[in-house]
């Protein structure tokens, strides 16, 4: 089976150490996490992990089942590339003086649908949301002007369907449960 890009979503209780418990499941199979983000979900008090991996579907299925079996995990799902709407956010810091040397930077920023997040006396920060190839393309164009600092966030993604995985766990949340 061929490796492909997958997005794994995990709905969990908000518990110290759960990140470690989930990542060890990948470590055990020597699977590299391309990115991992945690945030609140649409359900109050419920957190979600969004994990990007490139793996075979067979491995991903096994990993997702082992994640879902963890006590504090409410639900784990996986999606192929076409089944999610996804974004990443990138920040690029360049020297302010490169702006004064003409209109090139402004043109590049406009053409890439990026924006200036802040303009300080010594540096400016440009922000770009998009697929990795898009943030990479902007990086390549800015690179000749000297990028002082660059960061890209992990992938965030939502399912390309009317309801997210959270829909399935509403009933579970009615269950009586100790509060630690």
């Amino acid at each position: 089976m061929e490796k492909q890009e997958f997005t794994i979503t995990v709905y969990t209780e908000n518990q110290v150490g759960l990140l470690h418990r989930i990542t060890t499941i990948f470590t055990k199979r020597k699977i590299n996490l391309e990115s991992l983000t945690t945030s609140e979900s649409e359900i109050e008090g419920i957190h979600r992990f969004t994990i990007a991996v490139t793996e075979t579907e067979e491995q991903v299925i096994k990993v997702v089942k082992q994640i879902e079996k963890q006590v504090e995990v409410l639900k784990a799902d996986y999606y192929k590339k076409k089944e999610v709407v996804q974004q990443e956010l990138a920040l690029y810091k360049i020297a302010t003086e490169t702006l004064t040397n003409g209109i090139e930077i402004e043109r590049i920023v406009r053409e890439h649908n990026a924006r200036f997040l802040t303009i300080e006396r010594e540096f400016v920060v440009i922000e770009k949301a998009g697929y990795k190839r898009e943030t990479k393309a902007l990086f390549d164009e800015l690179e000749p002007y000297g990028i002082k600092e660059f960061v890209r966030s992990g992938r965030i993604a939502v399912a390309r369907q009317q309801f997210g995985p959270g829909k399935d766990i509403e009933a579970l949340l009615q269950t009586n449960s100790p509060s630690i």
Binding site: G17, K62, V71, E72, I180
Partner: protein, 578 residues
């Protein structure tokens, strides 16, 4: 469940007291969970709990092991023999890390344990304080759940959750780490057992469609074949399982953790699976048309090379843990759920069938294995004693009604192959992790967990020396542990592999041993040594009939091998008889 307000004990003043210390809450919570025995080892960070235990000695007996690894294996043996949750206490740092092997063993063999470790005071967390270790982080991959308590008020809830998680669904080990300050703090104690956790499902819902599909497949099958594992024992579904195989007239073979779930003498019990299992059960895995796995997880020691495993068969997998479905072997018909509930649903849909031709295949293989292996192993013609003949005579002395606890290695395979059983929860061994040193402490725990039964610890000279210090615990507790040392003065299993696969290069496997007779005497045990066959029968009689602990050493052949054998990487049908 209603909450229970605990009455303070008589020797505690004043009687109207409503607040207690965290340490006392730990002890009271354990008592509320029905714990009357705990295994452990004290140390700085767990001292308040030990201090609290002092007042409850009449209700909660603490077994002082000689090493934390001994304590946790004893808790495992206790759990496996009694069906209850094993409880283990240890201090922070080295105390906690010494538990890890046992926790990993319990995780892979689904043994319910609650481990309670002391931790440095919360204000010192992360400062590399004396005996500080991140036991939460270290134990995370090998626990079903773990939790660090830093406030006394969390103790009742944490312990209630721990017991519920450890014993429900697919059981497993849980660790609760409690900072020393939380043990000293006061709390208003009341205890309520945990019965549900919203993010946790004990067992998946049963799908009747799958039950029907499975029943049809079995009814249509010409050569159906059942594999059973510890899931039967953990679900206490022994009767349901027997009814199932009897109704379907289905040959059934066991994994070493499933051993004793069905009595040895049952005509449908066809024997042992896996690397050193019986010939027919392995060979015929690749001849059956429907393979029904019940409460087992297709471990690689059972399946051999998966590419050559049961490819012709339609696989039905009864399993409580959804993550086990399709993990190693694809299940055409997965039946998720608790075997105690799913088996009767399946049984009531099964037709009685004549399977004499198929069963005769197993009998045929059995004859061949007897001729090539078993006859000589149990009734040797050479002077050198075999492990098999010792177990064979042991069966006569116990009538098959003993708990056999084994360590890991050749003696383990021989004991599993030849020991006979008449009741469940009678075979205790380290299966998944293969932990040498498991046997003696697990036998101690089993003897305390099933005090009315005869407990025999079959152990090799290698494994015994890994936890031999627990003979002192046997003496202190007066547990009736009968140690049967099969001494071949080698790490026999590794030596066997060296002989077969590494050109007889016996690298670091020969053991120049201590005088085990003197050692056992030092631990104040009655002892005996057998060096010749004519001593064996009498020695085993005395071994079993002596009331209390006993140490019997039998000198067996140094270079005997365990056969049959499926060489690593081979398929089950490539099983070698010699």
């Amino acid at each position: 469940m209603a909450s229970i307000d605990l009455q303070p004990t008589e020797n505690k003043s004043p009687s109207h007291q409503t607040t207690i210390t965290g340490a006392e809450a730990v002890v009271q919570a354990l008592i509320q969970e029905g714990v009357d025995i705990a295994f452990g080892y004290p140390g700085g960070a767990i001292m308040p709990v030990y201090d609290a235990l002092y007042d409850y000695q009449d209700r909660l007996h603490h077994v002082l092991a000689r090493h934390e690894q001994g304590a946790i294996h004893a808790a495992q043996g206790f759990a496996r023999a009694s069906g209850k949750v094993g409880v283990c206490l240890a201090t922070s740092g080295p105390g906690a890390t010494n538990l890890i092997t046992g926790i990993a063993d319990a995780q892979i063999d689904s043994t319910p344990l609650v481990c309670i470790t002391g931790q440095v005071p919360s204000h010192l967390l992360g400062s590399d304080a004396f005996q500080e270790t991140d036991v939460i982080g270290i134990s995370m991959p090998v626990t079903k759940w773990n939790y660090q308590v830093t406030k006394a008020e969390e103790i009742p809830l944490a312990i209630a959750k721990a017991f519920y998680i450890a014993r429900s669904g697919r059981p497993g080990p849980v660790l609760i780490d409690i900072t020393k300050d939380a043990q000293f703090q006061q709390l208003d104690f009341h205890y309520e057992k945990c019965t549900s956790i919203r993010s946790y499902r004990e067992e998946p819902a049963i799908e009747i469609d799958q039950i029907e599909a499975a029943a049809n497949a079995i009814n249509d099958a010409k050569r159906p074949y059942v594999l059973f594992g510890q899931g039967i024992i953990l679900a206490e579904a022994e009767q349901e399982f027997k009814a199932f195989v009897e109704q379907g007239n289905l040959p059934a073979a066991w994994t070493i953790l499933g051993l004793s779930a069905m009595e040895t003498s049952h005509p449908l019990n066809v024997g042992m699976l896996g690397m050193h299992g019986n010939y027919g059960p392995n060979l015929l895995t690749n001849e059956c048309d429907v393979l029904i796995a019940v409460g087992m997880r297709f471990d690689d020691r059972v399946t051999g090379n998966l590419e050559k495993y049961a490819k012709q068969a339609k696989v039905i997998h009864l399993e409580i843990d959804p993550a086990e479905i399709n993990k190693n072997v694809f299940a055409h018909i997965p039946i998720m759920g608790n075997a105690k509930k799913t088996l009767p649903l399946l049984t009531q849909r099964l037709q009685k069938k004549d399977r004499s031709e198929w069963l005769a295949r197993f009998a045929e293989c059995d004859r061949l294995e007897h001729e090539k292996v078993i006859q000589e192993e149990l009734h040797p013609t050479k002077d050198i004693l075999t492990m098999g003949e010792v177990i064979h005579i042991l069966n006569e002395k116990t009538g098959g009604d003993a708990i056999i606890v084994t360590d890991v290695g050749q003696h383990q395979m021989v004991a599993c192959r030849y020991a006979e059983f008449v009741q469940s929860k009678s075979n205790i061994t380290s299966g998944g992790l293969g932990t040498m040193g498991f046997g003696l402490p697990a036998a101690l725990g089993a003897a305390l967990g099933a005090p009315d039964r005869t407990v025999v610890c079959v152990v090799g000279d290698g494994g015994l020396q890994m936890t031999i210090q627990e003979l002192a615990t046997v003496y202190q507790t007066q547990a009736k542990v009968k140690v049967l040392l099969l001494n071949n003065e080698f790490l026999g299993m590794v030596r066997q592999w060296q002989q077969l696969f590494f050109d007889k290069r016996y690298s670091s496997t020969e053991m120049i041993n201590p005088d085990f007779q003197l050692l056992a005497k030092g631990f104040r045990m009655p002892t005996n040594q057998v060096t010749h066959r004519d001593q064996l029968d009498h020695a085993l009689t005395e071994f079993i009939e002596t009331d209390g602990a006993y140490f019997l050493e039998v000198m067996v052949g140094k270079e005997n091998n365990v056969f049959p054998m499926i060489p690593s990487g081979s398929g089950v049908a490539e099983i070698r008889l010699d």
